[in-house]
Assembly symmetry: C2
Amino acid sequence: MRLSRYFMPTLREAPADAQIVSHQLMLRAGLIRQEAAGIYAWLPLGLKVLKKIEEIVRQEMNRAGAVEILMPTLQLADLWRESGRYEDYGEEMLRIKDRHERDLLYGPTAEEVVTDIFRSYVKSYKDLPKNLYNIQWKFRDERRPRFGVMRGREFLMKDAYSFDIDEAAARRAYNRMFLAYLNVYSRLGLKAIPVRADTGPIGGDLSHEFIILAETGESQVFAHRDLVEMGAPGPDIDWDGDLQPLVEQRTRLYAASDEMHDEATYAALPEDKQMTARGIEVGHIFYFGTKYSAPMKANVTGPDGKDTPVQMGSYGVGVSRLVGAIIEASHDDGGIIWPDSVAPFGAAVLNLRAGDAGCDAVCEQAYKALSDAGIDPLYDDRDDRPGAKFAATDLVGIPWQLIVGPKGVADGVVELKRRSTGERQTLPLEAALKAIIG
Amino acid sequence: MRLSRYFMPTLREAPADAQIVSHQLMLRAGLIRQEAAGIYAWLPLGLKVLKKIEEIVRQEMNRAGAVEILMPTLQLADLWRESGRYEDYGEEMLRIKDRHERDLLYGPTAEEVVTDIFRSYVKSYKDLPKNLYNIQWKFRDERRPRFGVMRGREFLMKDAYSFDIDEAAARRAYNRMFLAYLNVYSRLGLKAIPVRADTGPIGGDLSHEFIILAETGESQVFAHRDLVEMGAPGPDIDWDGDLQPLVEQRTRLYAASDEMHDEATYAALPEDKQMTARGIEVGHIFYFGTKYSAPMKANVTGPDGKDTPVQMGSYGVGVSRLVGAIIEASHDDGGIIWPDSVAPFGAAVLNLRAGDAGCDAVCEQAYKALSDAGIDPLYDDRDDRPGAKFAATDLVGIPWQLIVGPKGVADGVVELKRRSTGERQTLPLEAALKAIIG
């Protein structure tokens, strides 16, 4: 993409009401624009990151056997009356009346809708297990939306729902999601810790939150160091096999956020294994049994010919929230430092003297080579000061900067900068391209 | 995908209230499920088609120089008060109050939001032209939603908005979209006719609708046969060059839908050039000048240093509607016939005796070969009657069927059926795979 044709409105300063660094940087780097309290438009650069995160989540859900559907944003109030949650949900639910005075609502979550879909079609244990997920905009009418996309009102969520014939099978479904989540965060360049969680208003008796480490995080997390340092299970585990050992390898190590923290247990850990840090919640999984299937009569016939309410769990990832969370975990004074996997562009080509025949030729050559290699480069071809170009490229956090100036061109070299380390090298164009393309 | 692990709930009969064939087939093939009047959930098969159409639209927008953003579904009523449309829009606009009694609405279109984004960042003619588009869910509270996704309330639309310094530049932006739209429809396997359109409530003085031919279409279209038979311009035209000749080559030939039809002009065409058929509107483009930029003060500084309201156009494609439109244009008594470009799976492998070692082995081999070749096969591995498998596979419209039965396996052959023609061949597996993979 040539920057002269793109739309990347960077700002010198963030609006004063942006309190946390991810919100400030998302506004300054031109990722989002506030349209109303807690409601944002995604500008081109932000949308590219959002889509990359979404695609990683999708791939890992598919790998773990979940099947994608798409539920509408608006739901019938009557379904929520069936589950008993319509009156309970409170003011966070955005209630709507259509032109015929029918009660609708903007879905804050979708247990009722997906249970209704399930009961319409699935009648036998033979069609189980099933895990249906969707990546769709949700709305929660927060009283005080703030922190940008970290606590917005309209937000993008991946929500998955598992359906099983009995508790043992439901536990297997839970384990698949538990491990798939660790793989998602790992691919996003994040260190994620699963902590036992309160089940809250969704209910149920088995639940974990996933907290990623970030100095600016909202909550304090306490964990066994071995858990923090343990890698994700990786994609090649046997998803149909017994995953309990892989899950237990993690859950037997202490981990808690402040709400659930037990100081005595933590203090009993060997001192060099105690680790505490700030973190951000980026996922939540629940097993809740028949909480929805019983009142909504989502029954399946078992092998014994008897009907029983299906066993369910739900599994949420805040996709739009993750854009902010990644920035909280990865930035410096100059701006954002995107992990390669979600960077909006793979490399930036900076033309320090646009219009100079030599610089233009080298930049075009680099731009073409990177494009052909699938790196998706952003070419800063604007007529602007080098200092402004450096600052903007640092701010938006593209992993590689290939800097082309008239002096280097005369000497047959370019400068290559790695955003994450700040490391710079002066080298021939071919060598720089090789370093980027790999 | 193995069908035993998928979620493809086909129905023997469509609900009685589904009046048109695409609605009937979308329900029967398990593409969608109605959640409320005019509000649908997209089941796995339908979502795959929807995403493929969306991606084709995206690619052609990008090729024509438009830049993708994402605007929220909910908008501030105040913006619509600025443009003067809030009171005018009528009952089709879903008006919402949040917990603080602020007026929101579910966007039926986004001229106001995008004009507001534009005016916040773009101040100079030097940053023009710009074309910003998004693919987002919209809501229009139709009094009588019907015909499934063809006239739903919550629907997916691609809406693009162009910004230019003067009329001549705006005309160039219009031409790019005019030709890009023809490329979109062509890739979807549709024959699309651009007809001059009434500009309706959006206003402006240059507008075309795109009508695709389908016997079951809602409106009558009258056109010069040469226009109907003219191919799309193709991707390799010079998008920065003068596109006026390519547009005029088409617009000088007569074409109108019933509303704008002029019988005298049509009758004056040579008789063998007169063509009339049923059609479905699947896109609408407008040039409307300063209709929004003037009241909303979206001004840019021109080369002369003077501020003028930016010249705008808007360009809509009904993405979810296209799923229905393609089915209207391409089906038979057995079900849907997907064009290859949007088919949910590239091929189906039918195991006529699941559990038979020979059939299983051949099917697994075919499934692996097709998967490795990127064909994305659906493998019907269920224990079910051959007749039921044939009917379901025809119904869901997958382009190729590779049929594996015990007799063929004994003879070293499989059967290959092309859905669109019904043609069947008996041939060795390798030859069948080669025919599919190409």
